[in-house]
Symmetry: C2
Subunit: 377 residues, 2 copies
Amino acid sequence: MALDTYSYTDPLCVGLVQTQYFHHDGTLPLESGQQLGPLTLAYETYGTLNAARDNAILILHALSGDAHVAGFHTPDDRKPGWWDVMVGPGKAFDTTRYFVLCANIIGGCMGSTGPKCVNPATGEPYAMAFPIITIGDMVNAQRLLMDALDIPRWYAVTGGSMGGMQALQWATAYPERVAHCIPIATTHRLSAMSIGFNAVGRAAIMSDPHWQEGHYYGGELPTNGLAVARMVAHITYLSEASMHQKFGRQLRHAEDYAWNFDPEFSVETYLHYQGDEFVKRFDANSYLYITKAMDYFDLGAVAGTLTNAMAVAQARFLVMSYTSDWLFPTAQARELVRALRFNGLDVSFVEIESPSGHDAFLLEHEEMTKLIRGFLG
Amino acid sequence: MALDTYSYTDPLCVGLVQTQYFHHDGTLPLESGQQLGPLTLAYETYGTLNAARDNAILILHALSGDAHVAGFHTPDDRKPGWWDVMVGPGKAFDTTRYFVLCANIIGGCMGSTGPKCVNPATGEPYAMAFPIITIGDMVNAQRLLMDALDIPRWYAVTGGSMGGMQALQWATAYPERVAHCIPIATTHRLSAMSIGFNAVGRAAIMSDPHWQEGHYYGGELPTNGLAVARMVAHITYLSEASMHQKFGRQLRHAEDYAWNFDPEFSVETYLHYQGDEFVKRFDANSYLYITKAMDYFDLGAVAGTLTNAMAVAQARFLVMSYTSDWLFPTAQARELVRALRFNGLDVSFVEIESPSGHDAFLLEHEEMTKLIRGFLG
């Protein structure tokens, strides 16, 4: 599919869509012991919920994602939603058969309640008064939406990276409400290395003088710190091979070295560009809260072991990992698969050959489509 | 060897040593076309130069290293030099047989001429008026020292990481002056990924408001930016396995989560500690200049290919890489070995099994000692 000619009128496209907002007037008890509420959760839907209300698929997004998974918001949009290759008529998540819903997360900055929102207790933005949230809290907020939409059970829950963490959380926290679970490029808990990279990102943000202990709303934003956080994270989403292929040692604008400190290697200008673009759309405090939620996620912690934690699950599982993903490597997917199989669960596991690193889950849509369509039946 | 009982009186120790300073009153033409001078180069020596002046071994250090490779500066020092495990009586570089010299680098901040030094043209610190320097320039400055000491040929040149780059540069820029070359955990040119990590480090420093375009000497230092640069670099020196083994998901001070943004995972507090320690001893501008020199290093660039570049070499080579080093992976060492062998050079290559990542070259001294002693004969 050539993206340059792909538009909302394409027969493979879900068309023009709008983000919707679910409001919950009560409070949500959080794992920290605190409460959050009232709260708003952004979401989008595609396709039609059938009369039996049993064809709903929940898609969950990664750190920097949003509810806009497919289609276009306006005819002038240059790009469709972030996983449009996977959601639409005849695609992996076929909107002629399924009612597909993508739910945003609390703590974020893409339309749901997060640190940049007004704290009803003070009339000011929450900033760092926003409570620490967990992957479990994100899922509990999504369950409020599920109940409001009167969906008894998800036909499937799926997501890549942090979206996969939410999918796993759904399958264990609400086992009777998940028929199929497709965790992709994910893990039941971050490695020390991943926690380390998140720590670097937070250090970059929190040492930016504009961060001001989180009270930067209405003033200058900690864009430098957030850009550095994004730059380092972006490297972890790629692979040595994909960076070599994409950039090598190419210089961006010249044949010869510049002999100064302006970014000049293509990989350098690319990372700076990624950093600069990210700060236009993302809130630095949300970056802190979401990375912390990822660090805290440890599915086996309460039950003692991952195998114990998985004992309650009822879903059929399709676990996917990618050969060159060094952030959430295949070894972590295998741990998950072992724990699921130990409990007698129906598990398919595929390690997909890809040079694209962690980002492969956004790119290897052809093989994933075959696997997912086969799995969903 | 238990470091806590190891002291300058140990028979395996070179004893108390002092850093020496070589002054060159002239100027050094640089690869950029600029000149640098007068200049100072810090160095240390251990053992005795023989009458034939043919037993000198040159050790070259990595990004953050210095000339103090072995022994103690004072009886009260808690730690010996950075590669003391490798340099001393009976060690890999046996000071009863060899005259071992460790030379610092121009552009650095450990006693040699670098951006924090006074620019004779202005009477102020160079800061960003310091010229861009290359690995070739570092080696050319070291050659001035070699000539001043009247050493006709190094019996061996060696170093890990950026030290290995300098060793390779020596073997090709001054082939007749290098009898043995031992490049360790290094590469003939950085990968896109490594350039990317360096770009992140520089971005962190240059976006620190205390950096002030490099003019921070005498004022507040860009410690936050430099600490972030060190934190991210430090992750790249380890491996997922070593971080898992060392830290796992352990919390530093408590059994349960803190539910705030204080560093709490052991890996987090460790990285913050590494960052905080580093800024006490390292100059942020030197970090910019040295990482840039690494980015610019491309041994095959002038000759067209690495094989062509290596055609001039005369040394015997011992190339070492480490299984878990993902910063300078074995695949890069193999490229080097292929180019050397294509030219009919005498090359030994060993990939050492180690979980310690890039830092393995500082740690796997037992196997390295056997290999190096065998190689040096």
